[in-house]
Amino acid sequence: MVKVKLWGTLRHWTDGQAEVEVEAATFKEVLDRLSELYPGLAPQIRRGVSMSLDGVIYREAWFQEIKPGQEVVLMPYMQGG
């Protein structure tokens, strides 16, 4: 199981939970499980999210592996100028 930290806005769709657990081994699997378990998150996930893995931000890397014990944080899709 992977513990995923969510930013405040998303907690409206997880019964107020700031951290949820999902069965996933990759970034894509995290997104898929979150959309299944918490359908209210799906619109945001479709618009785009990034993921921080032990402090390293992954913008789109679906196949990025998640190892046991790693810190996983969902973030808005990164923008820049």
């Binding site: 930013w7 390293v56 931000i57 992954y58 913008r59 973030m75 990164m78 923008q79 820049g80 100028g81």
Partner: protein, 744 residues
């Protein structure tokens, strides 16, 4: 691709050779957007709304079409409505359909055989408007009864009961705010406003579109991202991406403002309709009115601090307006606001509200300068009131490895403390100040990212090398890319030419944004060079009759890996290249990747100002920028980014603003009335580059392009407030605003 621990000694990276595009630029030979021409080319021109908000009742183009020399007229109905919200917004920002949403919104366009005929045709178009109430202020836009700019655009994250103009909401943070504020000896809460500003690039948007009778098209334009232009334009025009080739020109500044399209789909539509090439060049008036300035903002910040300078809690409410279309920039501001601090309890809320202003575009670190201006202003005021040294307080509270960041992740290795220590040790920090002078300090933060990147590296038979990359060179990246290729291959910098390709010559490359190019394209270049080296080693192995694994690459030549590999004289790159036709054909290296691991970036700015109490004018006396570059590939261009950010921030802090009249029209769409700093306004901007290697890049490179715009607003506001003896809470701090504050 991790840091090469073995490679910390550089021969070429870190030197300062001349930029390869320098001669062309100083002799006027460089080809910018407006320099492109084609046989039979028509002049395109755009009719723009004179109203801030109006329903388009009808558009009669018949008189314009009847003018001799007019070859095409298009309006919103010539563009197929998009189902996707993002594309629909981009398209309707380029050409209004039902409503004009801001002063300067395009409503029709013509293509004619001369500029004079095009101008006459615009005058002949009859548009009937139903003028609607408008709103240009972010606070006014969220009040009950405010004119609704666009209905039904709120995302699911907007709480019920808010104004229909609110399209986006976000919340970040952790910890118990009440408990945090209870621990504070002093809590300060302040409200701030910042005006929308423009990137101020010198080159106006320009493009040339040429549609052929069989449905293919070419587009030349000044842009930060030709591939994204292709994505947007092919979708809007309704053609396959493969049939649209986009070639970027040289670019006279972008800073995020050229990451989208404004005129390109219009030029393509006119070319398709007329069957002739069409060129559109924006006037400066159009650039101000109808491209993408920053968000305007209104913010409330509350911070608690103990007597000894420990921040116990922080809270920020950020209300941004990205103009007449939804925008998510408040997400970035809300994440960045407290990122420099290690705080137990922190919360940021962000909202975006629609106003009758042009659609926001990125401007280096979009959303962060405003939020950090507000936070750093309150931190400074707390330091003043508690009699604490502002730098010592930043150091005491600085985020570091292991800090739970305000936006969620736990920080890895970051360079903030080292950057603050560098500022503390610099003579600037302790230099004496005179009457009416003040010193300001601010930390800044930005995320940085990598992204989709492709590089091809061709070994020419004469021993020179061509590197093909897909990102327009805004800040000297061709020099930096050439340096990294030279470093890896072991040949002189002068033997390499790096060019920026069109969209048919490489795979997809993300836009030149996110401080990504030297990091990402550099990484791909290093990998492409290693790919080419592997192939050259294989050729050498064939010459010598040994295994490829028994060949090393040293100082630009293949050599036997050790005594067991045999005794052969080195085979240089030039020797291997010269015989490549006979040894298997051309040699090239390639690399395609979506890069991650950019690493976040921190900067510290220190500024001294003098405020004239009679006039309210501010003179910047001294300015020093401290920033971690990971590894400065070409230090001139790192310093240039740092200096440029400081200068743009000085303009933003002191003078620049979009000024709207009561009629909702922009009152200062030109550089006479929109005052950007010029050389005579500025001291030399001093720079201190720190090099703390980024573990996500083989040479340790970290993006440097955006962070320098983040701290200046706060640093200057803190300096002005200390010089004036009164806290300034609205940008720009123009002379009238300072005088008003001085008079209380």
């Amino acid at each position: 691709m991790a840091l090469d621990q073995a490679k910390r000694e550089f021969r070429q990276v870190g030197t300062r050779p001349n930029r390869p595009d320098g001669v062309d630029k100083v002799t006027g030979r460089a080809q910018y957007g407006a320099d492109m021409t084609a046989p039979g080319m028509l002049t395109g021109a755009i009719l723009r709304s004179p109203h801030a908000h109006a329903r388009i009742v009808s558009i009669d183009t018949s008189a314009a079409e009847a003018i001799a020399g007019v070859r095409a007229v298009v309006t919103g109905v010539d563009f197929t409505p998009q189902e996707d919200n993002f594309l629909r917004d981009v398209q309707e920002n380029c050409m209004a359909r039902d409503k004009a949403l801001y002063d300067g919104h395009a409503v029709a366009a013509v293509a004619a055989t001369s500029p004079a005929i095009a101008k006459a045709a615009l005058k002949a178009i009859k548009v009937v408007y139903e003028v609607l109430p408008h709103v240009t202020d972010v606070d006014a836009a969220v009040k009950p009864g405010a004119p609704i700019v666009q209905a039904g655009r709120a995302l699911e994250n907007v709480p019920a009961g808010m104004s229909e103009n609110v399209t986006n909401a976000c919340e970040f943070g952790h910890g118990d705010l009440d408990a945090g504020f209870a621990k504070a000896d002093l809590v300060i809460e302040r409200s701030f406003k910042t005006a929308a500003t423009h990137q101020g690039y010198i080159e106006p948007h320009a493009c040339l579109a040429s549609f052929t009778a069989d449905g293919k098209a070419d587009l030349w334009c000044c842009t930060q991202g030709q591939f994204f232009v292709r994505t947007l334009c092919s979708a809007i025009i309704g053609m396959e991406a493969s049939q649209l080739r986009v070639t970027p020109s040289e670019i006279g500044g972008g800073f995020g403002g050229k990451t989208t399209v404004f005129i390109e789909p219009v030029a393509l539509a006119l070319s398709k309709k007329s069957g002739r090439p069409v060129k559109i060049v924006m006037t400066r008036d159009e650039v101000f009115k109808a491209t993408g300035p920053t968000v305007s903002s209104s913010m409330d910040v509350r911070i608690g601090m103990t007597k000894d300078g420990r921040i116990t809690a922080g809270e920020a409410n950020l209300r941004y307006s990205g103009g007449a279309f939804p925008c998510g920039t408040c997400d970035m501001g809300a994440q960045a606001a407290f990122a420099a601090y290690d705080v137990e309890a922190v919360r940021t809320y962000g909202w975006n509200a629609l106003t009758n202003r042009p659609k926001e575009a990125a401007y280096r670190a979009p959303g962060a300068p405003q939020a950090i201006y507000a936070v750093e202003s309150v931190v400074d005021e707390l330091c003043q009131k508690l009699g604490l040294d502002p730098l010592a307080v930043r150091l005491k509270n600085a985020a570091h490895k292991g800090t739970l960041s305000s936006y969620g992740p736990t920080f890895n290795e970051i360079g903030l403390e080292a950057t603050l220590e560098a500022a503390k040790a610099h003579p600037h920090y302790t230099a004496p100040l005179g009457p009416n002078q003040g010193r300001g300090l601010s930390c800044g933060f930005w995320f940085n990212f990598g992204g989709n990147t492709c590089v091809s590296l061709n070994i020419n038979t004469d021993g020179t090398v061509g590197v093909t990359e897909g990102n327009p060179d805004i800040g000297g990246s061709r020099a930096s890319i050439s340096l990294m290729a030279a470093e890896e291959l072991g040949i002189p910098y002068e033997n390499i030419r790096t060019i920026v390709a069109d969209t048919n010559s490489l795979g997809y490359n993300d836009v030149t944004d996110g401080s990504r190019v030297t990091f990402s394209v550099g990484l791909a270049t290093i990998k492409a060079a290693r790919d080419a080296i592997a192939k050259m080693k294989a050729r050498a192995a064939r010459f010598w009759g040994i295994d490829e694994e028994a060949v090393d690459w040293v100082d630009g030549a293949a050599v036997p890996a050790g005594p067991n590999a045999g005794k052969f004289p080195p085979l240089t790159l030039a020797e291997i290249a010269a015989t490549s036709p006979q040894t298997g054909g051309p040699i090239a290296g390639h690399y395609e990747v979506n890069v991650d691991g950019a690493g976040v970036s921190f900067g510290v700015h220190l500024v001294d100002v003098e405020v004239d109490p009679e006039t309210g004018a501010t003179k910047v006396l001294r300015y020093t920028v401290f920033q971690d570059a990971g590894k400065a590939v070409h230090p001139d261009y790192v310093e240039g980014q740092m200096q440029g950010g400081a200068v743009q921030g000085i303009g933003w802090a002191l003078n620049e603003e979009y000024i709207y009249g009561a009629d909702g029209r922009l009152q200062n769409p030109g550089f006479l009335d929109y005052r950007i700093p010029v050389a005579s306004d500025l001291p030399n901007i001093e720079t201190v580059i720190l090099e703390i290697p980024n573990p996500g890049h083989p040479y340790g490179v970290r993006g440097v392009g955006e962070t320098p715009i983040v701290p200046p607003l706060a640093a200057i506001a803190n300096a002005v407030s200390r010089a004036a003896g009164v806290r300034l809470t609205e940008l720009p701090m123009s002379p009238p605003r300072i005088l008003k504050a001085l008079k209380g």
